[in-house]
């Protein structure tokens, strides 16, 4: 009981802190989607905390309902990370957005399918756990995919987005794993009650560290069309040489 209260208070306090950091120097204008999500977290978790203290009868129902909304709103963070890493004005966005959009759609279908197949599970425990798990897994994959793609193309991430993405991804993936374990074995539920909120508190802590200084993603360096043309010529020459070697 005491531990739960301490974790809840710490979470709300850290959410207030991250909201204050976003409001300071008008960071919320840059990271609008993240700001909306943090605002939701603060409102949702404060309401939950008060219901836990004063209306324990409705707490459980409220918790799962807010968790369902949270699962959907988490996509705001995913989208924030993507749009900051590959800004709409960049050529990389124009080149990759279609392909990545198809992959994202495929992942969403996968999440829906795994959630649907939940009905086939032998032991019925919680539909909310399955929702959280299916979409959390996909969200973690999307964040990891964005980070890996950025690294592949040499796109640098500033401290703000890097910290937000890594902490969020780590939290969502640990949440996926612990959710599955809790559904697998009910004895794990007692750990799950502490592990999930604790990892959430760590995530918010990392967000505060990430937002402490304004360090946005540096603009993507784009080659001149002349350089790209030169590269295309070199590439074609290399390919034709390789073909000649292979088929003398």
């Amino acid at each position: 009981m005491v531990t739960s209260v301490v974790i809840s208070v710490a979470a709300v306090a850290l959410e207030v802190g991250s909201l204050a950091l976003l409001l300071r120097r008008s960071l919320w204008r840059v990271y609008t989607l993240l700001f909306i999500y943090v605002l939701w977290l603060l409102i949702g978790n404060s309401t939950l905390f008060f219901s836990f203290l004063y209306f324990p009868a409705v707490y459980s129902n409220l918790y799962w309902q807010s968790d369902t909304i949270d699962v959907i709103l988490r996509f705001l963070v995913v989208w924030e990370v993507f749009r900051q890493t590959f800004p709409k004005s960049s050529r990389l966005n124009r080149s990759l957005s279609k392909g990545l959009g198809i992959i994202a759609f495929g992942l969403l279908l996968f999440a829906c399918a795994t959630f649907w197949s939940y009905q086939n599970y032998t032991a019925f425990r919680s539909i909310h756990l399955a929702l959280d798990r299916s979409f959390g897994f996909v969200q973690a994959l999307m964040i990891l995919g964005t980070l890996v793609t950025a690294r592949y193309y040499g796109v640098r991430c500033g401290r703000n987005i890097r910290g937000i993405a890594l902490a969020f991804g780590a939290w969502v993936s640990i949440s996926t794993a612990t959710n599955a374990m809790a559904d697998l074995d009910s004895s794990f539920l007692s750990y799950w009650y502490y592990l999930r909120p604790l990892s959430f508190v760590v995530m918010i802590g990392v967000w505060i560290w990430a937002l402490w200084v304004y360090d946005p993603n540096p603009p993507i360096k784009e080659s001149e069309s002349v350089e790209l043309r030169q590269w295309t010529e070199d590439w074609n020459r290399a390919i034709s040489t390789a073909r000649t070697i292979m088929r003398p």
């Binding site: 795994t114 897994f137 990891l144 040499g154 780590a170 993936s173 996926t176 794993a177 360096k221």
Partner: protein, 190 residues
């Protein structure tokens, strides 16, 4: 059941991946290609401009000469010549490194922003590179130029990375100011 086990495993694997990405650190910023070109035009890098290191350290000719007993002495002379050339090249590379370091110091002196961490990192890279080049030099003197061809060839890359470091600092000032930097550098070097 299998779904749950898979989710538990994949969730942990994803968590591990995020930790791995976090530990890898962020990408180092690469210098602008025009800044790299500017550095090589401002500073005359004699050692790294030598493109035939592979040929210099190739022992094919030496082996051919050695295969003929009548040409053994000629082979020895050829080996000594190559040794001298390789030592000269290494000396030039060491000179390049020191020039690049001096140029970087000059840029900071001129007011180009840098951090203590960056400066210490550069100094560390310089010391390690010089130590490595001296070891290669020692190996060329003792066991000849053909013993460690790969390590010797890669010595040139030390200068390249140092050159990129200097270009990164130069890239922090507008390209319009590079001509002035070059003039001041020439004046200070004279």
């Amino acid at each position: 059941m299998i779904n749950l086990i898979l989710f538990a495993i994949l969730g942990l694997a994803l968590f591990g991946s995020f930790i791995f990405v976090a530990l890898q650190g962020s990408l180092k910023s690469l210098p602008d290609s025009s800044a790299v070109r500017a550095v090589t035009s401002i500073i005359n890098l004699e050692g790294s401009s030598f493109a035939n290191a592979r040929r210099l350290l190739d022992d094919t000719d030496y082996q051919v000469l050695c295969s003929n007993p009548d040409l053994r002495r000629l082979a020895e002379r050829h080996r000594n010549d190559r040794r001298q050339l390789a030592l000269t090249w290494i000396s030039l590379l060491q000179g390049d490194l020191i020039t690049l370091w001096r140029f970087r110091r000059f840029l900071i002196q001129q007011g180009v922003p840098s951090s203590v961490k960056e400066e210490l990192g550069t100094l560390q890279a310089l010391v390690l590179s010089l130590v490595l080049l001296n070891l290669i030099r020692l190996s060329i003197r003792t066991v000849g130029p053909f013993a460690l061809p790969r390590a010797t060839r890669q010595a040139g890359q030390l200068v390249d990375s140092m050159s990129k470091g200097a270009a990164l600092v130069l890239g922090r000032i507008p390209a319009a100011g590079w001509a002035e930097i070059e003039r001041s550098w020439v004046k200070s070097a004279a």
